[in-house]
Symmetry: C2
Subunit: 327 residues, 2 copies
Amino acid sequence: MDVIDELDQRKRKVEDRIDQIFDGDRDHPLWNSMAYYPRAGGKKLRPFLVMITTGAFDKSEEVALPYATALELVHNFTLIHDDIMDKDEMRRGKATLHKRIGEAHAINAGDGLFALAFKILSNTEVEDEKLRLLLEELSTSVVKVAEGQEEDISFEETYDITEEEFLDMIEKKTSYLFRAAARGGAIIGGGDEEEIRSMGEYARKMGVAFQIQDDYLDLVGDENKIGKDVGSDIKEGKRTLMVINALSELPEQKRKRLIEILEKEDNTTEEIRKALGLIEDAKAIQHSKDLAHEYAEEAKSELEILPDGKYKRMLEEIVDFMISREK
Amino acid sequence: MDVIDELDQRKRKVEDRIDQIFDGDRDHPLWNSMAYYPRAGGKKLRPFLVMITTGAFDKSEEVALPYATALELVHNFTLIHDDIMDKDEMRRGKATLHKRIGEAHAINAGDGLFALAFKILSNTEVEDEKLRLLLEELSTSVVKVAEGQEEDISFEETYDITEEEFLDMIEKKTSYLFRAAARGGAIIGGGDEEEIRSMGEYARKMGVAFQIQDDYLDLVGDENKIGKDVGSDIKEGKRTLMVINALSELPEQKRKRLIEILEKEDNTTEEIRKALGLIEDAKAIQHSKDLAHEYAEEAKSELEILPDGKYKRMLEEIVDFMISREK
């Protein structure tokens, strides 16, 4: 069985758990709104990481399911609020929550989902002292996600962003939840301090590679696969690694032209193609791909601490999947 | 020493703790935004309840300080998001956070503050099994607050709200954090199940009385004391107990007139005075005062479970304060 099948298998378990949470007598309108993103698909990568890391430490994956689910709900809460902050209209091929029910209701549904995640965490059947560590992981990571989001919003006002600043931002905004997943799995599995640290570093580096690939797909991916318009980041003037790298490498005239397109509200297909050409001129796509590969290799090297076997192999393969995926 | 002095004493302790959290090397812009409400004053009623309830069970109040602070931060996070949802411009005599830094930054600062509260909770020096219970209290209560907020937002679209529906909404939106305060204190203090339950009921009923008084002050309070315009609820067309009661008691013509004023965007002082007159005609202010008193008495009766002494007396007196306060 390849890693995609393994991923799908855990995905179904998490979806079942999510169904249990939202089924039954949850007829309050808040609960319908809270369920909208968790039930709209998604790869469930973070829960997978929790479960496989737990398994890698010889503990039953089932024990990790509540924490895995809590983390997925936290991820979905950040998506709800991010979509409001970014004024995005589409997510996973459907209208974003705030487009559907309005901003006030959507802010509130995000808050409810965040709180629900911690409630599920409180019911996790792990030893009380491990619960304390999991609580620390989850809460610390969301503070970091908020720091990263703050930096990301601020980037919208400037083109003077160094690659280092950008990578620092996505480490916080994206990597920290992956980190909380792998560290959490190691905690549940009974890993020692050094093992928890290694798993955290593994996931942190993988998270950066994941985000670079995400931005890559937005620019050159297949619309039918990614579920949104290709080039939407250019339309929205979003700073991605490729854009930042191109801006630093392009000669003045071309740099100005790229900024013009990024600044413009509604870009034509022709303009998006032009921007893509400029980014290619700067060799920024290749640079971005190279960097994703570097992070992926560094991530995998952190796995040396684990014994060879099925779980280690899955953790290696999921990294390769993250930088080669087409959606 | 009367209960106000006791309240002030604990307030200073919580403020010191909040200063410690936000001082030092917290130079990230997110942290400045997160600190804005917690440092802008407020009575710190919820932390007081945590500490006094803990003391009532013969445990040192100091042990309760982290949970008390976490709860205060949760309260402040709800204020940040509520102000965005309600489009409020003033809070505690200053501009609301989103008016100051924009909605996207403010949504994110609220999220960060919420996460920070759980991080502080994870560092609470109580036994691990008590931490699990505190986590459950805090997370459950915020899910309920979100349910209450959802109902409150929906009330804006109708005048057909029964008193029962209204009281159910404020129990969730307001009382649940008071409940989490008193139950948390009882848990930290080592109370048994029945004692935790009684303390929760005490605080739940007190919370309703508190909210009724809050709405009363908005209508007939002293502007210099409450830090915002008197009658702002009328301007905003907010459904309060007094409004709901008046709408159900007034004859058709007067009812229509009151709804007209509530619906109008910018009310004159004359219109607000007219609305107040209509509400008085319906005897709704007296009804509201009576109900607050009933809830306060019921709250105090839950304290029978406690031994007589300083702490029980403070818990009684804080209820009286809540329904007699002028700000």
